[in-house]
Structure formats: C-alpha cells, structure tokens
C-alpha cells in the first residue's frame, strides 16, 4: 500500500469509516479493468443518447426516438438495443467542453487535461499502465485496431505506449509482430535468440549503460510474449464460438469489443477500441446509420457478455468521442463539430445503471443542468479504477497532476 493511500485511509477511518471494508474496496478497484469504445470523429448527441423529438426537423433529424428501459428516458431511434439495456449503464448528457479540433479534443477527453503546446498529457491507458503495471506478463494497455495520437503515453514516455492489436475483423488477423513470421519455426527463432544472447555478451560486458539494460529488458519481454501461450490465447479471437462472434457482429467495432473482452479476461488492464468515421460534415444521416447499427449490436453484446461472465462488476466500459455535433443539420446534410454539449456512456465497475446525469436545452446545444467538464469525467474514471487523479508526476521539471481540478460525478457512483 502506498503511503498516500495509508494516510487517506487513516483519515477516513478516523472519521468513523470501516477500515477493513475500505481496504477491500481499494484493492478491488486497483484490480479493475477498463474498455474504452471511442467514437472516432465525434458523435451526434441528438442521434444517440439525447434525442429531441420535439425540435424542428432540421435539428431533430429523421431517426425518431425510442423509449429505454428507464421510464421517461428516450434514446435515438438508431439505438433500440442499447435503449433496452439502459438499466445496466449510465449516460451523461451534459458533457461540456470548448475544444473543437479533433486532435486537441481527443487528447483532452482521453486525459482529462487540456492539451498544451509543450506537453502531451498521458492518456487513460498509459496512466493505468504506470500506476497498476502489467498482469500475467501481458502488456497492460492495448489499442484496437491501430494507434491514435490520443491514446498515447505522452510525457510518461514510450514505455507506457499501447500495444497495437490490429483489426480483429480481418480474415487474416494476427497481432502485428507478436506471432512468428510465416516460415520461421519456433525452434529456429530460439536458435537465433541463443546466438543473439551469445553475440550480445561481449558488448554488454564491456559497456555499461542503463540504455542497454533497458533494451535487454524489452527484448526479454518480447521473447516471453512470443513464447507465452497466455498472449497467444489472449489475442486468438478465433477461439471464440461463432455464435458469440455473430452476436457481437462481424464488424470492426463488434470484433473489437469481443477482442477487448478477451484481452481483459486474460489480464490486460485497459483496451481502447476505435470505431468510426463519425466526422460527418456532409450526408450525416446516410453515413452514420451503418455505424450506429454496428455500435448498437456490439455495445449491448459486450455488456451482456461481461455480465454473464461475472466481469461487469470489475470492468468499466466507457463510450466517448471527440465531441458532439452541431444541432442544426447544415446545407450539405452534415453536422459539424460541437463541443459545448455532448453525451457519454459508462457501465460496470460500480457505475449506477440507469443513471442519466444532466440535461441540455431544446436543441441539445448547451447544458441547462449539471454541466460536466471533461476533467470531471476523468476524475470519475480514475476514481473507479483506484487511481488518485490528483497525484503529481514530474514533466519538464514541474509538477503535473494526472487531472487538474476534476471532481468525480457522484451521481454515477454506487
């Protein structure tokens, strides 16, 4: 236990809380995992979790709305399956930011810290990797299918950068560089590895440098990953029953979510699934319909699968995007960037199912009630994952907190 935790717990115990129970909670939290579904490009709040059926047609769009499993709450007609499961997850409708450029907005929402000119803040996965380390010898932080500048380690350094999984929906899916190239047998790989050890020996004996030690360490990790049945099993999406694969949907986001669940089950701590082109400046409705259809299959399947396996209580599922989209459909039939009001969803890991936090005005353009900052969302995520969001790292010689001034959204916490 860290000294900081001890002090905090000590303080709370003094205030009359039950210490053993609290300790148990703390341990549990640090063992929690997280799956982030990222809606690439920014999703319309109106066409997802915050429909406005009474607004004029050029605002409400043509998808209509459907009731959810929570009385009085409606979702867009594009998300009927998700709507039926709202009692299992929570939605914040009043997210509020002022970053309207993709790169900056993503860095912001992935870190809870406003992007700066001279410092790249680490994203959720990198912080989790640093704070909680690896489990079962597997990389703690994985992105599916490919890396994105928002899901990086920033100033924590490349050691905490994500492992890149590739696209699990591809017929020939195998994780890049993890499996041996075709034609090279494991035996040959080992023979080369042995020769490498012998040839490195002389140089390593003569030269002393932390750099060489660190290279050694990564080569060892790489070889143990290559040899690890756990790693191969974790990424072997083909081992999932066809029926389950179909249930998630044979789509990028469907198989991505399934792979993410598989990885979490094997010991990976945080997996980010990128989904989209949601950046629909033209022909918005036509372009997003298939994306939402895919999402509305994958997301409910993931929640149900996690629950059936008893993993939901220990896995935070987070649905976020760059920002929201403009309320009024533009002359090209598109919706443009809109950070001032947007929706996110959270599930599992103690998040209160059925909670709907905040509300927006008649056009879903501004929060009217309980505006939630990106910092607050981040503070919530870190709290759920057992990380002190006020912890200070040092970057460029100055102290930098993981999240500056965020307050966890209490309404979501059980």
């Amino acid at each position: 236990m860290l000294r900081r935790d001890f002090i905090r717990i000590g303080g709370l115990a003094f205030a009359g809380l039950n210490l053993p129970k609290l300790l148990a909670d703390e341990t549990e939290r640090t063992e929690r995992s997280c799956i982030v579904i990222f809606q690439n490009g920014g999703c319309s709040q109106l066409d997802t979790f915050d429909p406005k059926p009474d607004a004029p047609a050029d605002i409400r769009g043509s998808f209509g709305s459907v009731p959810t499993s929570v009385p009085g709450v409606h979702f867009s007609g594009l998300l009927p399956r998700s709507a039926k499961l709202l009692h299992k997850f929570a939605v914040i409708r009043s997210m509020h930011s002022d970053e309207a450029i993709h790169e900056r907005a993503r860095q912001y929402i992935f870190s809870g810290t406003k992007p700066r000119n001279d410092l790249l803040q680490p994203s959720y996965g990198a912080v989790v990797a640093k704070e909680h380390g690896s489990r079962n010898g597997l990389p703690p932080f994985v992105v599916i299918p490919d890396k994105d500048l928002s899901a990086e380690a920033g100033f924590l350094g490349p050691s905490y950068d994500p492992f890149i999984a590739g696209n699990p929906n591809a017929k020939t899916f195998s994780v890049k560089d993890l499996t041996l190239p075709s034609g090279i047998s494991y035996e040959e790989c080992v023979a080369r590895k042995d020769l490498l050890a012998r040839l490195d020996q002389g140089f390593r004996a003569a030269e002393q440098s932390p750099l060489l030690e660190s290279m050694d360490e990564f080569y060892q990790k790489a070889y143990s990953l290559i040899a690890s049945p756990a790693a191969r099993t974790a990424f072997d999406i083909g081992a999932e029953p066809d029926k389950l694969r179909d249930a998630y949907g044979r789509t990028g986001v469907g198989q991505g979510c399934l792979l993410a669940r598989r990885l979490i089950e094997s010991g990976i701590r945080l997996a980010t699934v990128f989904h989209g082109g949601y950046d629909t400046h033209t022909d918005h409705e036509k372009n997003i319909r298939p994306l939402h259809t895919d999402f509305d299959q994958a997301f409910p399947a993931l929640l149900e699968d996690l629950e059936q396996r008893g993993m939901l209580a220990n896995t935070l599922v987070l649905v976020i995007g760059d920002f929201g989209r403009t309320t009024k459909i533009n002359f090209s039939g598109g919706r443009d960037h809109w950070p001032r009001a947007f929706s996110v969803a959270l599930a599992g890991a103690g998040i209160k199912g059925g909670a709907v936090v905040g509300s927006t005005d008649k056009q879903a353009g501004e929060p009217v009630d309980r505006a939630v900052k990106v910092e607050d969302l981040a503070a919530t995520v870190y709290k759920v994952l057992g990380i002190d969001s006020q912890k200070e790292y040092r970057a460029n010689g100055r102290p930098v907190r993981i999240v500056k001034d965020g307050v966890p959204v209490q309404e979501l916490l059980g």
């Binding site: 450029i101 023979a191 390593r204």
Partner: protein, 823 residues
C-alpha cells in the same frame, strides 16, 4: 594547431594536503553596505588550499573590525551589525593569511517601519504560505490566494486587508486578526501551526498590523536576489557551508535576506540545505541550491566530492580549448575522463553523428590503415562535405522547427525541408537563417522560410496566435521557456507576464490567410493591431526579453528589430542557446540541461565552456560547420564510452557525474532514420517508401502522411508539440526487430548481400567477417567467430540450408545491441 603539443601539467602539483595548508582567505560577500544602524549582514570566511579546494572556516579564524563602534561582529552567528553611520574594514586572519571586506553603514531613518514588501512578504515566503502547494497556487486555498512567492505585492496586500470584506485583519484589535490566528493555530488552519507567538515572524506581522497594515509608501521592491557563494565544491560527506543571501532593493539599499528566503536543493542526496541556509554535503555529485523570496530567486551550484583529485589523476592532451575546460572541471570534481576511443570506434561513431550512416567496410579499412596522425581531423572535414551531412542535420532542424504534416497540412512540408537542407549544405550563417525565418511573410510555397510560422497557427480560429509564436521563438533561439509567464510570473526565473507580452507585441500585426482549396497559407502584416496585457487590459509595447524597449517607427515591421536583437553577437542568449543545442546532440546532455531551459536557477555545469563555445560561434560568423569541427575534433568527443577504470567499481566515483561533465561518450540509440538506413546499407536492400524513387534514404523522406511503420515504431516524432524525440527503447521496437517485416524482408530478399556473396562463392568466414565490418566496423572476435560457426553447423544439422543459416547470422547481428546503438 595551438594545442597540439600542449600537455596538462596541473596534476603534478596536487598532492594530498593536510587540512591546515591554506593558500588564500576570502570573506563572502564583498563590499557590504548596511542601510542603517541596527541592520545586520551574514557573512562567511572561505580558506583555499593549493589545489583550489575551499572550506568554510568562519568559526575557526580570527576576525576583527577596524571600527567596532561602527560595525561590530558576532562570529558564532556569522553576522556583523551596523552600530552607527560610517565605514569599517573587516579582516579575517588564519595562519598568516588575510581576507578583508569593507562595510558601509548608511543613515536612513532609524525608526523601524515594517514594510509590507519586503518584510511581511518575507514571512509569507519563508513559512511557505505563498508557495505553489499552498495559497500561492493559482486557485489559492479556501478563497485566500497569494501571488506565487510574492511577486504581486499590491494584489497580496489587497487580498489580506480588503478581500472577503476585510475579515482577515482587525486593525482595532490586531492580535485578533485571522492573519495571526490562523498560522499560530489559535483557530484551525489547513496548513497547520506555522508561527509561534513569541517568534520574530509573529512580531513582524503584528507590528505591520499595528502600524496600519499599509502597502508601504516607500515602495522599495526587490530588484535582484544574490546568493553567495554561487559556485562551490564541498569536500567530504557532512562538509558544511553557510549560504549568504543579499537582496538588492529598488531604493538602492541592500538587505540581508539570508534568514528571509526559502531554500531548496535540486538533489538532496548530493547536498541538503536547512532553513537557515546551511548546506550539508552528502554523496558526490552536483546540485543546485535555490533561494527564493519576494518574488526573486537565486541559485548556487554546489558540487560534492568525497576525495580530491590525487597525484594519479590522469594527464591528458588537449586537442583544443574544449578539452582544456572540460578537464579542468573534471579535475575539480575528481571525475576521471575515459580513455581515447579506438579508430574503429571513432569512425563508426563520427559517421552516425555527422551523416547518419555507418561506414562501409572499405571506408573502415582505409581509415584504419591510414598512417597520418591527423587522420581523424581529415575524416571529420571529409564528412562535413558529404551531401548526407545536410540530409542528416536537416532532420534535426525539422524536429526543432516542427516541420510536420499537421501544421503545414502536408503541402509545403517538402519546401521547408529543401530550404533547410540547402542552407545547411552551403553552411550559410545561422544568424541569417534565423533572421530570415523571423521576418518571413508570404505564401509558404513561394517563401519557404515562412513555413516556420505554421506552429503559430490557431487551427480552430484559423488565425495567427501570438501566444504560440512567442514561446516558440524564445525557446528555439534564446533557449528560454516563456510558457509559464503567459499566465503567471515565472516561478523559477525573474521573467514576468510583462516580459511575455512585451515579446508578443513584436508579432502583434502578423496575420494569416488560408487558401480555399489546398489549405495553403499566406502570412502577411497588418498595418495596425496591438497585443493586450491580460491584467492591465492595455496595449503592450514591444520589449526585448529582459531588455529594453526599442523605438520602432509606426510603419516598420516590428519583427525586423526583434530578429536583429535575437541574433546580435551581443545577445547573451542566442549563441549560448545554439551551441548548447548542438552540444546536446553530441553528448546527449547539454552544458545547460534541459538544453532549451536557460534561466538563472538552472546554471550551466561548465560556464566557462559554454561562454567560450558561444564566443567561438560568434567569431566564426555563426557558421555551423566550424562549430561541428571544433566539437568533433576535441578529445572530449573522442573519449571512449567505457568509463575510466571500468571493471573496478571502486575506481569510479560517480557514474552520473561522468555523464553530466562529459567524462565519456554517452551510448545512445541510433535515430530511427539512421537505423533504417543502416539496415538497408548492411543488407544491401533499399527500403521502399511510398511515392519516392527506389533507393531514397529514410532521412530524405518527408511523407508524414503515411509514415513508415518502422520509423513510427522507432520514435519518428509527430512534431506537433515542442519536445525532444523519444529516445528510450520500447517493447514494440523489440517485437518489430524480432518478428517485423523490416528486418526479415531484407534478410530474405533475393537481391541482398548474401545472394551476391554466395554467388561469388565467398566462404562462411569471409561473409561473417564482412557482416561484422559493415554492422560494427570491426572484425569478429575469436569467441564470436566460434559462436557463429557453431550456429551455422547446428542450423544445417537441423536441416536448414546454408543460405537460411547465413540469414540467421545477418538477422542476429541486426538485432544485436551493438548494431542498434552508437557508442
């Protein structure tokens, strides 16, 4: 060659000395002035031995005042006190040696008025009240917010006396003021009990309240904080030194602030510092002691050695002044320099460092066989003339100037790269390059230098942003990080918001036009426009950083005068920042480090070296090649990466110091582009880049649009923020080298070196030899030769072909550490 035959002989004098053999005595500080009677001043006496090592002997020597009725002494307190107006001479004596200083006592009114600044602010500072973790944080604490370390006197007094309805002071009943009851913990206080009611601090605050809690009509402000000694080496664990801190105030008086500042040490294991300024030595190393107060800050560089350099300290030949100054510092801190690297090590190292490629086996053999004594100098000259020199260093400049896809939207990225490359190939003066960039305008396709401004665009608003331009210019060309000062006065430097906005005002009239179709940008100057100060809400006049306000005619481009000032040979920052940037490339650590963070609290580790390099750069007309030549020809650059006395841990007093003081060559990863080019060269298979002709080298590619997988994995930077390339290894890199396409495809390629050599019927030994020569610039050792032979045998025994076994050898060499690093 002035230095060719010149040897160091200082070593001969240095023999272990008994602690009592002193050669000089001095009193610190010198020329003391006391504002009025009753004022006191801390001082120390330092004795120096023949080896140059000093020790604090204040309590061991005899000290006298020439006029005790004017200035009296308290040796145990290390203080002198003004008794009446006049002058006195203070003399310290030890073993027949004398050290003196003069003291003047002024005649300012002896009625002691407690001033808000500096008196009250000093208390708030030494007690930590206005530090960043407490009320000095941007948000304050519980509504009580002070300026960081007291830079904003008026705002602080307003906050204390008037804010929150004046609840913090009770002038009718001063003892009942929150200002006193909180820190004494008479009522609960989140910061705890900080002040005792019987303390001097309490009395100061109380007196100020009793006198009416005024801001002080005199208004003396701190102009400069000084710490003495500002550079010192301590001998032995536990050695002590008392720091003396003096504040120079705006009314011309000085004030002893030794007990009124907050001290900190950048490395507590090397030396700690107590609240009264006593520095205590720990492990050997270097640390910076900071003193802060009244919004000012001063730094002292403290070195700690456990034993002094003995008679066996190695003698070395200096190739040029670089060595002279590096070795002098090494000797002072008793850090042994490594031996000279071998010819083979040198040629591989200098190839990678100047042109980003390894030498071919032929180049290595020719160099090794060359008998001329000045062959290293010759090789350096030859490399600096090669076209790859420009290619390789262009990539460094692209990193620094952030030539990237996102900023330039890809279109004119190549224009900027070409422009930089031509400039470097011709070795045109760097000051001209900088002036051209700072004053550039126009279409970025027509005016390549104007691509410099891309990072200063506000993407959202599609306009020029002075707040992005200002820190970029100051960091790149002055080595000063001004980012902090945009929002608050710099906590570690005497730069303020006024400095930030004064610099910004030079760019106040810059504008940008975006082309419709292809994002192309055109920079132009408006005829009017000012930058507004965020606090004063008034237009700011252009002001040079830490300097004067130039007179600029109304129709004139303000940037011209800025560019002239930046690149002036007289500018204290420009040449130093530039030479330090290049030094950092060669040694992986700057003389000032971080290399672009010059400030008084981050002192150079070898000030004389930095100054002389800067002067050399100015004298060479700001040409870069003479600077490269000077550094590359120094013995310091040519030292082995293996530390002196390697293998015998007792011989090595401090690994970290070796790196910090350049006692050996620092092993580094070969940069991404150079590693890929080296793999191509060694395997004989060029790397394919999309949209580039076959045979193009990685360092000549700029298509960040679809960056190469290998380059991205190995740390090719996005360049969207100012930061160094990632230089640490990663898991992804190891996996990519082991299993990835890049190495494997080239090792297996049907047109690679193995195919060629086998068709010429080379023996295994000859092939292995050549692989070693091309990858490591050396032949295999006997043990390595045997290991490879055994591998070849067992591979063929396992049923794999000779070709396949040789592929295994080539693959292994490319995966080895020796190949992937420069050493």
């Amino acid at each position: 060659m002035k230095y060719a035959q010149w040897s160091f002989c200082f070593v001969a004098f240095v023999t272990p000395l008994a602690a009592a053999d002193w050669s000089a005595l001095r009193i610190v500080p010198q020329n003391i002035s006391l504002a009025k009677t009753g004022e006191l001043q801390h001082f120390i006496v330092l004795a120096r031995d023949a080896g140059g090592q000093e020790e604090d002997v204040t309590t061991r020597c005899a000290i006298s005042s020439s006029a005790p009725e004017t200035v009296s002494l308290d040796r145990t307190q290390r203080t002198l006190i003004g008794k009446q107006r006049g002058q006195a001479q203070i003399t310290a004596e030890l073993q027949g040696l004398r050290g003196t200083t003069s003291v003047v006592v002024g005649d300012r009114a002896s009625e002691v008025e407690v001033r808000f600044s500096p008196d009250v602010i000093s208390v708030l500072t030494i007690k930590g009240c206005n530090s960043s973790g407490c009320h000095g944080s941007p948000a304050g604490q519980n509504g009580f917010k002070l300026s960081l370390f007291g830079y904003d006197t008026a705002a602080d007094r307003e906050m204390i006396v008037n804010a929150s309805g004046g609840r913090r002071v009770d002038l009718g009943n001063p003892e009942q003021s929150l200002l006193l009851r909180k820190p004494t913990f008479a009522i609960p206080h989140g910061g705890g009990r900080l002040i005792a009611t019987e303390s001097e601090e309490y009395k100061t605050l109380l007196k100020w309240l009793q006198q009416g809690a005024r801001l002080d009509s005199g208004g003396a402000r701190l102009q400069k904080l000084e710490i003495y000694p500002n550079e010192q080496v301590l001998l032995g664990k536990g050695a002590k030194l008392s720091a003396v801190v003096i504040g120079r105030l705006s009314d011309g008086s000085t004030r002893d602030m030794t007990r009124e500042v907050r001290y900190s040490s950048s490395d507590e294991t090397v030396a700690g510092v107590s609240s009264d300024g006593t520095i205590t030595a720990g492990e050997s190393g270097l640390t910076t002691i900071l003193a802060r107060g009244l919004g000012g800050v001063a730094a002292s560089q403290i070195g700690v050695i456990l034993t002094r350099a003995g008679a066996d300290f190695p003698k070395s030949t200096a190739n040029n002044f670089v060595d002279e100054l590096v070795y002098e510092k090494l000797r002072k801190l008793n850090v042994r320099p490594a031996a000279l690297c071998s010819d083979r090590e040198f040629i591989r190292r200098v190839f990678f460092d100047t042109i980003g490629l390894p030498p071919t086996p032929e180049e290595v053999e020719r160099f090794v066989a060359e008998p001329r004594p000045d062959k290293r100098a010759q090789l350096i000259d030859a490399l600096l003339q090669r076209p790859e020199y420009a290619s390789f260093w262009t990539v460094r400049f692209e990193d620094w100037f952030r030539n990237n896809q996102l900023n330039s939207q890809g279109r004119s990225m190549g224009k900027f790269k070409e422009w930089l490359s031509e400039w470097l190939a011709e070795d045109k003066p760097y000051d001209e390059m900088v002036r051209e960039m700072i004053t550039s305008e126009g279409d970025t396709f027509q005016q390549p230098a104007a691509n410099f401004w891309h990072p200063a665009t506000d993407f959202m608003l599609k306009k020029f942003d002075v707040k992005k331009a200002t820190p970029t210019v100051s960091r790149l060309f002055l080595g000063v990080r001004l980012e902090c000062a945009e929002c608050h006065n710099h906590p570690l430097e005497n730069f303020t918001q006024d400095d930030f906005y004064g610099m910004s005002a030079f760019f106040a009239r810059m504008r940008v036009k975006h082309g419709t179709a292809e994002y192309r940008r055109t920079w132009y100057l408006d005829e009017e426009g000012e930058v507004e100060h965020p606090v004063l809400k008034k237009p700011v006049q252009p002001k040079f950083l830490g300097g004067e306000t130039p007179q600029i005619a109304s129709g004139e481009d303000r940037r011209i005068s800025l560019a002239k000032w930046v690149t002036s040979p007289k500018n204290a920052y420009f040449a130093r920042a530039t030479v330090n940037r290049f030094w950092h490339e060669y040694f992986q650590t700057g003389i000032v480090e971080p290399f672009d963070d010059f400030r008084s609290t981050n002192p150079a580790r070898n000030k004389e070296l930095l100054d002389k390099l800067a002067a050399y750069f100015v004298d060479s007309g700001f040409h870069l090649k003479p600077l490269h030549r000077l550094i590359l020809n120094s013995r310091t650059y040519q030292l082995s990466s293996r530390p002196a006395g390697a293998g015998n841990a007792a011989d090595r007093n401090n690994e970290k110091l070796e790196r910090l003081l350049f006692a050996r060559y620092e092993i580094r990863k070969v940069p991404a582009e150079a590693q890929l080019d080296a793999i191509s060269q060694v395997t004989g298979v060029a790397h394919p880049f999309r949209n580039y002709p076959a045979g193009t080298r990685a360092m000549d590619v700029f298509a960040a649009d679809a960056p190469d997988d290998f380059l991205v994995t190995f740390g090719f930077p996005r360049r969207d923020i100012i930061c160094e390339r990632a230089k640490s290894p990663t898991l992804g890199q190891a996996l990519h080298m082991i299993n990835g396409d890049t190495v494997l495809k080239k090792v297996q390629a049907p047109d690679n070196v193995l195919t060629r050599w086998m068709s010429q019927e080379w023996s295994d030994d000859r092939i292995v030899n050549t692989i070693y020569e091309s990858a490591y610039s050396r032949p295999p050792l006997d043990g390595e030769r045997t290991a490879v032979r055994n591998f070849m045998q067992s591979e063929t025994a396992a049923g794999r072909s000779r070709r396949r076994a040789l592929e295994g050898v080539l693959w292994t060499v490319l995966n080895s550490k020796e190949f992937q690093v420069n050493h």
